[in-house]
Symmetry: C2
Subunit: 338 residues, 2 copies
C-alpha cells in the first residue's frame, strides 16, 4: 500500500511576511518552494519572487570558487565569522555540481560549515542545482533574492572551480574571488581554463607554518601572471592576497579589498550597470532555457536525437541537415497544436 | 523605374563539379550562395553542402587572432607564401566584425593580402558574417567545407581579437594561434579577456630591428604567464614563439610547431575526437540559432520586447516574469498555427 504525501505549502502572504520578518524557517521553506521541480509549485514561487523583489538587491553578492582542497569551506567559515563580528548578516549558498546527478545535495554539505551555520547572523544553505542547462543559474538567483529580502547584507555563493557553474555564478555576483594554493604548477591543473581571468581577486589560502614562504612566492607569481591580462572593463586590476583561514590571518585585508572594489564600482557607476546587464541577461537566459527545454523534451525530437547525433559525429550527414530535420519535426508538431 | 536583378544561380551539379575541379570562380560563387540571405537560396546551398561533405574535412584548420596592429595580414601573407613554397594549397577566410554592421565586408579587405591573393596556390576571401548570433559560425563553417572540397590543404581563419567571434572560431578550428606584440603591458589591453587561455600557441610578431630584444623578453614573460594556466585537455602546453613577418624570420618554426601539434593530436586521438565534438556542437548551435531566431522575430515578441527589457533593467518586474510573458506570447501564437 502506498501513501501520497502532499507537501505542505503556505500562502504567498505567509511566505512573504515570514521572509521580511527574518524568519529563517520560512526563508528555508520559500527556498524549497523555489527549487521545487513540481509544475504546480511554479506559479506560487513566481508570485513570491515577484512580491519580494522590491526588497531585494541591497546586498553585496560575492562568488567564491576554487579547486577541491583549496579550503573553501574553512575560508568561508572564517570569512563569514569575521563579517558576523562586524555585525553583518551573511547568507552562504553552496552549489555542488555532484548534486546535479542525484537531484539533491551532498550529504553533510551543510555541516561542513557547522560553526557558521550556528551563528545567528549567518544562514548556510546548499543550493540544489537542477540537471538542466540554465537550472543552476535560475534557482540560485532566486534563492539569492529571497535571502536579500530577508535582510542578509552579504550573499556568498560558493562553487567548485571545476565545472560549468562558474560562468553562471560570475553572471549573478558583484565580486568574484578565486581561492588557490601555493605551488601553483600542480594544484592549478584542476582549475578550468578561463576561470583565472574571471577573478576580481585571487586569494592564496593556507599561508601558514612552513607554507608562508611558498604562499608569498605564489602570490608574486600570480600577480605577475595577472598583469599579463587586460584589466576588467571597469578598470579594476585584480589583486592577489594571501590568508590562513585556520589561523584567521589575512581575512580582514580581503574584506577591505572587497570594500574598496565596491566603493570604486559604485562611484564609477559600474556597480549599477553591471546589475542591470545581469538582469537583462537573466531574462534572455530564461527565454533560452525554456525554448531549449521545450525543444529537447519534444517526443519526436527525443526519439530521433541520438541516432542523428551519431550520424553527425561520424560525418554521415552534415550537422546543419540534422539540425533542420529535428527543427522541422518540432515545429510541425507545434503547428498541429499538440 | 526600378529593375529587378535576378541573381544567376547554377545547378547543384555545376557547383559541385566546379568545386571538385578546383575552379576558383565556381568556388567563389558557391560561397556567395552559402552566404546569401535569400530564403530561396537556402535549399540550394544546403544541397551543395550535403554533396561536397564527403570531400571535406581533410585540411588542417588554423584560427589566427590578434589585436589591430599586431600585423595579422602581413603575418598571414608571409605564412601563406611559405606554405605555398612547400607546395601546400591555402585558403584564407577573414572575418571582419565591422562587416556585421554593413552586411558586407570592409572595402579593400582582400587587397590587404595582395601578394598571397595572386598566388595560384592560395585563395583569399573575406567571410561575410551575418549580424545574427550563430551567423558567423555557420557561414564560415560552410565556407571552410567548400574550400576543403576544392582541395585546399590548409584553411586559415583570421579574426580580430576584440570581438565575439573568437570563441566561435575556436569551435571550428584544429589549432588556434594568437598573434601579439612586444611591450605586453599596453598592447595587451585590446585583447578580450579569455582569449589568451584559448591559444594553442602565441607568436610575438615584429621581432625585428630594435625590437628583437623586447620581443624575446615578451616571449619569456608570456611563456611564464602561460605556465600558470592548466594545460589543454589533450596535455598540449601552448608555446610562445617570435617572428618577423616582414623579414620572413621565425615562420618556418611556427609551421613546425603546428605540425608537431597535429602529429601529437592525431596519435593521441584528440584530433578526431575534437572534430567530432565540433560537429555535434555545430548541430546544437544550429538548433539553438533557429529557435532563438524564430522567437525574437515573432511579431508579438518584437513589439513588447524593448518595453519589457526596460522594465527588467530598472527592476520594475523580475526578469523571470518578463521572460514568461514573452514565452507565452510566442507559444500561444504558434499553437494557433500562425
Amino acid at each position: 500500500m502506498g501513501f501520497t504525501f502532499k507537501k505542505q505549502r503556505h500562502t504567498v502572504d505567509e511566505y512573504v511576511q515570514g521572509i521580511l520578518n527574518k524568519d529563517r524557517v520560512m526563508l528555508s521553506k520559500a527556498i524549497t518552494l523555489v527549487e521545487s521541480q513540481l509544475h504546480s509549485d511554479n506559479d506560487l514561487a513566481g508570485a513570491v519572487i515577484e512580491r519580494i523583489l522590491p526588497y531585494s538587491g541591497k546586498s553585496l553578492r560575492i562568488g567564491i570558487t576554487g579547486v577541491p582542497g583549496a579550503g573553501k569551506s574553512t575560508f568561508i567559515e572564517a570569512f563569514g565569522k569575521y563579517l558576523s563580528s562586524q555585525n553583518k548578516r551573511i547568507a552562504v549558498l553552496t552549489i555542488d555540481p555532484s548534486s546535479q546527478k542525484t537531484g539533491g545535495s551532498i550529504l553533510g554539505d551543510k555541516t561542513r560549515m557547522e560553526e557558521l551555520a550556528n551563528d545567528p547572523n549567518a544562514f548556510v544553505r546548499p543550493s540544489a542545482s537542477g540537471a538542466t542547462l540554465g537550472g543552476v543559474h535560475s534557482k540560485t538567483r532566486e534563492t539569492m533574492l529571497l535571502c536579500e529580502a530577508s535582510g542578509y547584507d552579504i550573499i556568498i555563493i560558493e562553487t567548485v572551480g571545476v565545472g560549468q557553474s562558474e560562468t553562471s555564478v560570475k553572471g549573478i555576483v558583484d565580486f568574484f574571488l578565486l581561492l588557490m594554493l601555493a605551488g601553483a604548477g600542480d594544484e592549478l591543473q584542476g582549475i578550468k581554463r578561463g576561470i583565472m581571468e574571471m577573478a576580481d581577486a585571487i586569494v592564496v589560502n593556507k599561508a601558514d607554518g612552513d607554507n608562508i614562504k611558498r604562499s608569498k612566492l605564489a602570490q608574486k607569481e600570480l600577480q605577475h601572471a595577472l598583469h599579463m591580462f587586460p584589466p576588467n572593463e571597469s578598470g579594476w586590476y585584480p589583486s592577489v592576497l594571501t590568508c590562513s583561514a585556520i589561523n584567521h590571518t589575512g581575512i580582514k585585508e580581503i574584506w577591505e579589498l572587497i570594500c574598496e572594489f565596491e566603493g570604486m564600482m559604485k562611484v564609477k557607476g559600474f556597480f549599477k550597470s553591471n546589475r542591470q546587464e545581469q538582469n537583462l541577461q537573466w531574462m534572455h537566459d530564461t527565454i533560452n532555457y525554456h525554448l531549449r527545454n521545450d525543444f529537447y523534451s519534444n517526443q519526436e525530437v527525443k526519439s530521433s536525437l541520438s541516432f542523428l547525433e551519431q550520424q553527425v559525429e561520424t560525418e554521415k550527414i552534415p550537422a546543419i541537415v540534422a539540425a533542420k530535420k529535428l527543427l522541422s519535426m518540432f515545429f510541425n508538431k507545434r503547428q498541429l497544436g499538440e
